[in-house]
Symmetry: C2
Subunit: 215 residues, 2 copies
DNA sequence: CACTTGTCCTGTCATGCCGTCAGCTTACCG
DNA sequence: CGGTAAGCTGACGGCATGACAGGACAAGTG
């Protein structure tokens, strides 16, 4: 799809080059987890990777460029999130389970990639289309499936006609993403991780079906 | 409460000093709106304020310190958000109106302060307790009111016992904040601002009362 | 083995921002 | 008018940035 990996000055990267490139990306990922985005410097990433800043600039235009790469890789993995919803039912007990598994899978994915997702969120909120597109790529799979589910229930008359499936789905997905980003924040409100999940699932179920789940 | 405003080196700031200090904060605010957080430099803020970098460092330890100040000022204004919920009813048509006005007021506040709120969100997500506290200060008022409303309905038996009021309220508030941050994103999903609001209100109403609103 | 080719890395350098200090200017007060 | 404290800035060492040319290295060739 993306063709060969190329250096900034146009050379094609060989085996060794790709290895160092990936090492730089991995080290960048680690840095993002351990220090504020604003303080991540090229020189630190390079040092951590046991190489020099000049090498970094051979593969990436700047820190942001490398971050986009990390984000892209994560977004590709994130495509698996569709599986949480493909072919699931929103009716009866199965519906409750669908909601629970969606919440579970979503939070888990976010927890695993929280550092890079923070930055993607920031970039998207700042209006950067590249980050925005990546955020879409991750959320779209879940969002579309949710919107379809709402639209389907709507067609059967089980959901009010004036509900906008895309708006509801988007809001629910945004909620999941936001809660995942600030999981620690809930502890201050006296809410433990284990308690949080069923309540989130409840909200998702309510939003999609308009009704309380049968457990 | 906070006593006198002091410079970094301990002098008390007079009228003139406070003016330049505030001017620096205002210019910082503008910069945050127009360029990515990562690219906001002390020298740019100082230039924009018609002063020198050295002056900046007289009032703030660094960019982050100044950002915290801006955020603090905004958080104080944000206390007004409580008014959106104080003494409101969640029953019948009034309940629907309460939900609508909450969504309206919340989105408006976020739209007005989106730049600084982005940064606060980032800081909080990165685990910085100072930003985290400010985010709390803003959200707590809304969150507590919502949680109280849920708990009250729960006491009357109108909401299931296994619902955790704080978890539900927190999730709804997080949803509002996230949607507000990414309002532009919804346009890609074909959802217009005007359509978004009632659907958000619906989700809030569903979350708080467990039932569809009577319009 | 010497030679060539193309990939890969780094030393070095000009540039620009950071953060501090000493010292100058301005405002206020007796 | 002189003293004192507030207010501001030029200047400087330090460090990150980003570009380049050249050296190191692996692999193939005669």
């Amino acid at each position: 799809m993306t063709g060969q990996v190329r250096t900034v000055d146009g050379r094609v990267a060989g085996r060794r080059g790709q290895a160092t490139r990936q090492k730089l990306l991995d080290c960048l990922s680690e840095m993002l987890s351990s220090s504020p985005y604003r303080d991540v410097k090229v020189i630190d990433v390079a040092r951590k990777a046991g190489t020099s800043p000049a090498t970094f600039y051979q593969y990436f235009p700047d820190v942001e460029g490398a971050v986009l790469e990390v984000a892209e890789q994560m977004a590709t993995e994130g495509g698996q999130l569709t599986q949480l919803l493909d072919g699931r039912s929103w009716v009866g007990k199965a519906g409750w389970q669908t909601a629970q598994e969606l919440v579970d899978g979503f939070l888990e994915f976010w927890r695993k990639n929280d550092a890079i997702l923070r930055v993607v969120d920031l970039g998207a909120a700042e209006g950067d289309k590249r980050f925005y597109k990546i955020r879409m790529k991750i959320l779209n799979s879940v969002n579309n499936s949710l919107a379809d589910a709402v639209a389907e229930l709507q067609a059967k008359g089980r959901v009010d006609k004036d509900v906008n499936p895309a708006a509801v789905a988007g809001s629910l997905v945004a909620m999941l993403a936001a809660v995942a980003s600030h999981q620690k924040g809930f502890q201050t409100w006296g809410v433990k991780q284990a308690e949080l999940k069923p309540n989130l699932a409840l909200l998702v179920h309510l939003g999609v079906t308009g009704k309380k789940p049968t457990k």
